[in-house]
């Protein structure tokens, strides 16, 4: 345990020295994290959060994790259905608008959902609550008409950090991958598992704390998707429109005990865990 912590610390310090020049006396950086790797499962023009019961109503979505999600999906369908997530205990469903290159769908090569204890003060991290079972969230702005202040998602290039992050598609050098980052809101109103606009039961923190309207801190879900494409972004579009319309839907179906254990063992004590929810 101690050895692995030291190793992790050493790795992190080396990484920091290599990537970001820091004073030699840098504070040890700790990360509160657990994750799920959930590859592409299927494509459907369905959305059980925004258009429940209305198959075909939506633009095309690419689904990750649960293998069963469609327009009619409810929590029990997820809990009783198959998943392709690692860990397999994560029965959640995640989906995004499908990416098209020259009109042909492109599915991601790597899809990771990080659950993080950051974005709020450490004393708040210490009292983060599990994401409630059945919680539904839509993050990002599918209806954005341009890259503006409503754009939460970011595009960048894997293995080409110099390209920088952008609200719209970026030109990735050959051999790298186009990647999308999206942070979900991490403050819950403590009442609804959903809301009329599928957003207002959740909020982003303000100045490191959850607002009084949304007082319950929960892990921050960070969706990271890597697409096996690079080059001129004029070839790309999302089913919802331009790159700035990137959004993510999350339907939480982690069994409560598994979510609780990870929040207790990884998030609150600020420990980096792997897919199994143990220190990595």
């Amino acid at each position: 345990m101690l050895a692995s912590r030291l190793f992790a610390l050493l790795t992190l310090l080396i990484g920091l020295v290599a990537v970001v020049p820091r004073p030699a006396v840098a504070e040890p950086v700790r990360v509160a994290e657990f994750l799920a790797d959930c590859p592409f499962s299927h494509r459907l023009p369905d959305d059980p959060i925004v258009f429940p019961g209305l198959p075909g109503a939506s633009h095309m979505h690419s689904f990750f994790g649960s293998r069963v999600t469609n327009a009619h999906t409810q929590l029990n369908d997820l809990l009783n259905g198959a998943t392709n997530c690692n860990p397999a205990v994560d029965k959640s469903s995640y989906w995004v608008p499908t990416l098209y290159k020259d009109g042909a769908p492109v599915e991601p090569a790597i899809v990771t959902f990080y659950y993080l204890g950051e974005g709020v003060r450490d004393d708040i991290v210490a009292r983060i609550q599990p994401l409630p079972l059945g919680l539904r969230i839509v993050a990002g702005n599918a209806m954005a008409t341009g890259p503006d202040h409503t754009t939460i998602s970011r595009w960048s290039c894997l293995h080409a950090g110099h390209v920088g992050a952008s609200k719209d598609f970026v030109t990735c050098p050959p051999g790298t991958m186009l990647e999308s980052y999206l942070d979900f809101p991490q403050c819950w109103n403590g009442r609804g598992l959903d809301s009329a606009d599928h957003k207002s039961h959740m909020a982003y923190p303000v100045a490191g704390a959850c607002p009084s309207t949304h007082p319950v801190p929960v892990p921050k879900l960070r969706q990271v998707i890597r697409y096996p494409v690079s080059g001129d972004p004029s070839h790309f579009r999302l089913a919802s429109g331009g790159g700035f319309t990137m959004h993510g839907d999350f339907f939480n179906a982690w069994p409560e005990a598994e979510m609780e254990r990870r929040v207790r063992d990884c998030i609150r004590p600020i420990i980096k865990c792997g897919a199994d929810g143990r220190p990595s």
Partner: protein, 181 residues
Amino acid sequence: MSRVLRFLLPAVLLLGCSAAPAPALAPASSGAFTTTDVAWLHLAEALHTRALPLLDLARDRAADRPLAGLAARLGTEHESGRGRLRALLAEARVTGENPHVRHDMPGMPTAADLTALSGLRDDAFDRRFVTLLRAYLKQLALVAKGEQSAGGARQVRELASAMRRDHTADLAELDRIAGRT
């Protein structure tokens, strides 16, 4: 996770990204309206709204008179259909701008479609118009079918059922007209 550190977003940016306040779903007193009902009412209302300018273009541009006649009839009917959808949204106490109306959803003619179409005349107009109108009516019929089978409130399901019947008949008429021209 140094990438994560690099990616941290300033709190001030996030502040601007907070979801806008929205009305809660209808309270228990009108609890007959389900999320499916509201989703269908919104989507159908947005589809109608976005198609009315399309229908309007046919009057002066279509070569085929029966096609222009169908478009004129649908323009009137869909205007009143939209009124019925709006009345049910009001009954469900759903207020505020329709979230889908400014967003290109399947079946909707886009702004680019309308611009291109308004530059066409006669047979070229008719061919493009038929394609757009068919996509619109098909999508309306599809989502009405969803509401009909998965909806909650009786009056909403009944409207969906009646609209689906009309859309199906209108599609058949469109096919007859398009097959003849």
